[in-house]
Subunit: 413 residues, 2 copies
């Protein structure tokens, strides 16, 4: 008697960004997940198989890009080559293997080139016109593509012979000082560093006179008169989820860097009305979109950012509230899935006591036909370490889900 | 105070092929191991240290060959190079590094070369005479060795310069169509594909007139008039258990492919009267042989196939019955070992709901002097995940056993 539900089963991966935490004094030494009232999270723990997961490796704080590369079946130590390429994928640039890409910020400097604001007064409008004026240069035979992202974000793409991503940031990550010179980190990166320096100079000249900036100045706003660059990386050779696993896949995700990873892996990214990638995002709209996407996709990723923000802000109460909002969203997921294997987890911990990503493992529950249900009843970092999944690595999650839905391939005979 | 029993301690590895499973509806949502009455399995859980094991890696369904390579201390991703070589080792061919080997089937095709039966009416007799007629050819300077296995099984070995295992199967794995052409999967494999094509043609001519086939036709049996080939692989460079760990080792195993892995690692394989490699095998005879082999070996592997068959057949009740027969066998093992570290496990799960190998981890219990006995009391997939071994990889099992019997080597100073 074969379980027919296995064929055609779907997979859904819910990622609550930065949800993992440590015991917090003001929450009676509980973690936000332990403290929050979250019956739907607990339903996933009770109904599924539980465990904890080192997204990258024990003790290593994951980035958003490396974490998602791992959760989507890659060994980040093998494939990761810097943030830039994923930013560029995220904003929809035509990224090709070998391209060198840097993340850019529209910034403001004073007459002495001292940085006043790394985000040019959180500029929101006019960036596409500014980007246009910087796009399409050629320097030392290298083709320059430049494109704006959301708000103050942009990407610089270099295409040509003899490039290397081994260059330092021009963004010093603070204000009051001058931008850094693009430093080659290896002899073979000298040309690339020179091209980046020359781009920075030409950009400064162009931006000084740019009509968008003239307009901003007339309104008393900081002009975006400098491009700060960081996160140099070479476009990685990645195998799409379609090619690697035969999966038609989609991602419901607001954060550009995560979206970039999904696009780099050939996933369709679906826009959601009301989804901002921030704390005010419409989670229920995202969940509805994700559930609906299951109709014509084998695999859907649903990513919600908000928890991470309150980890960075060290706001334990708001993190608890956010978890309770996520719980509502999970209730909707629970009530509207059928014939689907659902994993609920985080990409990393962002403990309020750390105010940054930490290497603490994240909780993971997997619900679906045929899973070996264990006796864990509470969805939190402490209880779930006792679950039957044990302690796994992020890169092993997708193979485990594929195996549950009977889409794994035997290794050997 | 050193435990003197450690010196001279033996090791035994009991592998119940395909025993791992998932909750089954008709067994009250228990796994066959949970449902079966198996006091001796439970004794091993109670008396030993327990855990679960990913023979290859989480979520990856192991083959019989890759699983046993791992359980015998190898990283299958490093050493595995296709099924053919292990089939050839199994039937006792003189396999040398660099040989390219394919698994063969004695098959039947009609006058239009359409496949009627991939096993030539499950031919049992006369195959050694047929094989003899195909053995010893030379094609394009390549030496051809051909040898029969059990029943319809055989192996084709190519030895010579410029060979590659990068060729496709000629066996289309179904009937009613013609055999495939041996396709080179890389430019360097063209010669090998040509040799295989030429062998297939010459074999067809020889088999058409072969006296064994004439005799079969006169009896109304399907003649074995075609050789279907698959699983091309290059003979791997393996280090024997003797060389790697100083172990004098033996295997009690019926299945040819597993026997091949054991032989490739230099293990003595011991024939057992009444052992068939099938569901009707005399398990008690195998256990007696294995226990007796401990007398003059450091390490004995005891492999019993039956559970796997009922997983493939999706017969939950028969799988439960088989586990109860295995339990009797384990009772004998329990009562007749002394000064021996015994591990009881499976090579992979073959869930009745999947009808095939799955990537679900397998249960593992290790009993022996000095092991850290945990509080697991039931031998099954769910309970044992809580054991003190945690979740380990197959390739780590043999080092763990060697360490328990004090035969491990320090790494470092």
């Amino acid at each position: 008697m074969v379980d027919d539900t296995l064929s055609g089963m779907k997979m859904m991966l819910v990622i609550c960004d930065g949800m993992g935490d440590r015991p917090v004094a003001e929450l009676d030494d509980k973690t936000p997940l332990q403290y929050a009232n979250c019956p739907n999270f607990d339903w996933f723990a009770k109904t599924g198989i539980c465990g904890i997961m080192d997204t990258i490796a024990p003790g290593i704080p994951p980035g958003s890009d490396t974490a998602h590369l791992a959760l989507l079946g890659n060994d980040p130590f093998e494939v990761y080559s810097g943030r830039g390429p994923f930013e560029a994928f995220g904003i929809g640039m035509d990224v090709r293997p070998g391209d060198v890409i840097l993340r850019g910020n529209f910034a403001n400097v004073d007459e002495n080139r001292k940085i006043v604001d790394r985000r040019a007064g959180r500029i929101k409008e006019g960036t596409s016109k500014i980007a246009e004026s910087l796009n399409g240069m050629e320097i030392e035979g290298v083709q320059i593509l430049f494109q704006e992202g959301t708000e103050h974000r942009a990407a610089l793409l270099l295409r040509g012979e003899g490039l290397s991503s081994e260059i330092g940031d021009t963004d010093p990550h603070r204000t009051g000082c001058c931008p850094e010179k693009a430093e080659p980190r290896s002899p073979s990166a000298k040309k690339t560093a020179d091209v980046v320096e020359e781009f920075s100079k030409r950009a400064q000249d162009i931006l000084k006179e740019h009509p968008v900036n003239k307009e901003r100045e007339s309104q008393g706003l900081l002009p975006a008169n400098y491009i700060l660059l960081r996160g140099s990386g070479t476009a990685p050779k990645l195998i799409s989820l379609k090619e690697k696993y035969g999966l038609k896949s989609a991602a419901v995700v607001g954060v550009m860097l995560v979206k970039g990873v999904c696009k780099a892996l050939g996933m369709e990214t679906i826009k959601v009305e009301g989804a901002t990638g921030g704390v005010d995002t419409d989670m229920m709209a995202k969940a509805r979109t994700a559930i609906s996407a299951l109709g014509d996709h084998d695999f859907v990723l649903l990513h919600v950012k908000a928890c991470d923000v309150y980890g960075h802000d060290a706001d334990a109460r708001k993190k608890v509230e956010t978890i309770e909002r996520l719980d509502e969203m999970l209730g909707y997921v629970k009530d509207n899935i059928s014939n689907t294997c659902v994993a609920v987890t985080a990409d990393h911990s962002t403990p309020v006591s750390v105010r940054n990503h930490s290497g603490d493992p994240v909780p993971l529950a997997i619900v679906g036909p045929g899973v070996r249900v264990d006796d864990v009843t509470s969805y939190d970092e402490i209880s779930m370490a006792k679950g039957d999944l044990g302690r796994i690595r992020g890169k092993d999650l997708l193979p485990i889900l594929l195996d549950i839905v009977n889409k794994s391939e035997m290794y050997g005979a």
